[in-house]
């Protein structure tokens, strides 16, 4: 049986922990709001971009740009792994890493060399521990404030590497933000760019869209210019999604931790009260026993 003082100290410690988890929960909640605002801010650009790109692709016909061409033999791939820099967010990072591991397993059957581009410290640490080559790493991006130029820089490097034949395929792994309660790790092919479609448009809308536009320069040239930007847009959106997911995951994890603290405090308080009652009873027994003895 723990002494009264021990239990009291324990309760104090758990209460302190609870304060911290609660504060972290609130910080994550406010950061989540910021991240969601960023995502909302990006939506008009992304929507318009996809719309224009889709219809240009349709109009430009079968362009034979290297960025769209599948390579026959795939021997080197690069994986862009987006994770967070910091922990304490439940299974968030391990889920992403698990996805990376399964992708590596799937690909590495026929002597394919895998290298990584890392966003976030957790993924970087894992990559390093498993002795994969790290082409470039970007820390302090996910979960913080970052601009479009981050994805432009990373995208340029990837495109250069792809065109130089350093890799034949590039994938991005990120966490898709479905809701505050649900974030799903997703694998997406970045390069070569998968066949484009005028997404989210009905057949009618597709037809009456760009075809009558005067284009300057020609649609094919425009497409050439837009394809690299498409890669940047994809990376940017992956980073935004991952950041938002990170904060949501941390919020949920900290919420659970706070609840667990409450449970612990409850059961410890019960134990404390029991111990106190026991000592009072013992004291009373002593007094009663002493009084009885005097009487006798």
């Amino acid at each position: 049986m723990a002494t009264l003082k021990d239990v009291k100290t324990k309760i104090g410690a758990v209460k302190k922990t609870k304060q911290i988890t609660k504060a972290m929960n609130m910080v994550a909640a406010s950061k989540l709001r910021g991240a969601q605002a960023n995502m909302t801010g990006f939506r008009p650009y992304a929507g318009k971009f996809a719309e224009v790109l889709g219809s240009l692709a349709e109009r430009g016909g079968s362009t034979a740009t290297p960025l769209l061409t599948m390579r026959e033999k795939i021997s080197k791939i690069n994986i862009v792994l987006c994770t967070s820099d910091r922990g304490l967010c439940g299974g968030f990072n391990s889920n992403l890493i698990l996805k990376a591991r399964s992708l590596v397993k799937e690909k590495s059957g026929s002597d394919i060399k895998v290298s990584f581009t890392n966003f976030g410290k957790k993924g970087r640490d894992w990559t390093r521990k498993n002795n994969f080559e790290i082409v470039s790493e970007y820390l302090g991006v996910v979960g913080g404030r970052f601009g479009f130029n981050v994805s432009v820089n990373a995208g340029k490097k990837l495109i250069d590497g792809f065109l130089n034949g350093e890799y034949d395929e590039v994938y991005v792994i990120y966490s898709e933000f479905k809701s505050t309660a649900k974030q799903i790790p997703v694998i997406k092919q970045l390069l070569p760019i998968p066949p484009l479609e005028a997404s989210g448009k009905t057949e009618d809308a597709k037809k009456q869209y760009l075809p009558e536009h005067i284009c300057e320069p020609t649609p094919a040239e425009l497409l050439d210019e837009m394809l690299p930007k498409n890669v940047y847009v994809q990376i940017y959106s992956a980073l935004l999604e991952t950041s938002t997911s990170e904060h949501a995951a941390r919020m949920a994890a900290m919420n659970n931790a706070t609840k667990a603290c409450n449970d612990m405090i409850d059961s410890l308080t019960l134990a404390y009260n029991k111990a106190r009652q026991a000592s009072i009873t013992a004291d009373l027994m002593d007094i009663v026993g002493g009084a009885e003895a005097l009487k006798g």
């Binding site: 801010g41 130029n149 005067i214 930007k229």
Partner: protein
């Protein structure tokens, strides 16, 4: 006066301009163009430069754009730029120091023609247009 067109300038980070305008002038990659209501559908890439437009009160406004794309439809103009700033949002001091830096770097490195040269030149272009946008006199 004819009807107004809607001008929208969006960047990945936010929407910079979304308002009605009487006329919009934008720096297309094959030459500057102006858009009034009822323009033929038109799509083009943009150079680094200045978008000028006249708002509904007839006042001239300036927006710096760092390249991108513009689409003109009969009733609206949409500009997709990697970055864009309204005249009043430009940090003139910063742009000026960036301009100075770019000029110095160009002077130093113009001898060897490598990627750095191209980058410095692009930086100079950006800085120059930013300063120009901020310093344009209103008339």
């Amino acid at each position: 006066m004819a009807e107004n067109i809607i001008l929208e300038v969006v960047t990945p980070e936010k929407s910079v301009v979304s308002e009605e305008a009487q006329i919009v002038m934008a720096p297309g990659s094959l030459g500057e163009f102006g858009v009034l209501i009822g323009h033929t559908p038109f799509f083009t890439t943009l150079k680094v430069g200045i978008i000028r437009y006249r708002d509904i009160k007839g006042e001239e406004r300036f927006v710096f754009v760092n390249g991108g794309f513009a689409e003109a439809l009969p009733d609206r103009v949409t500009v997709l730029a990697e970055s864009a700033e309204r005249r009043r949002d430009i940090d003139l001091e910063r742009a000026k120091s960036a301009l100075k830096r770019a000029q110095e770097r160009l002077a130093k490195e113009s001898a060897d023609k490598d990627i750095d040269f191209m980058r410095a030149k692009a930086a100079l272009d950006r800085a120059l247009h930013r300063v120009k946008t901020a310093e344009t006199r209103l008339h």
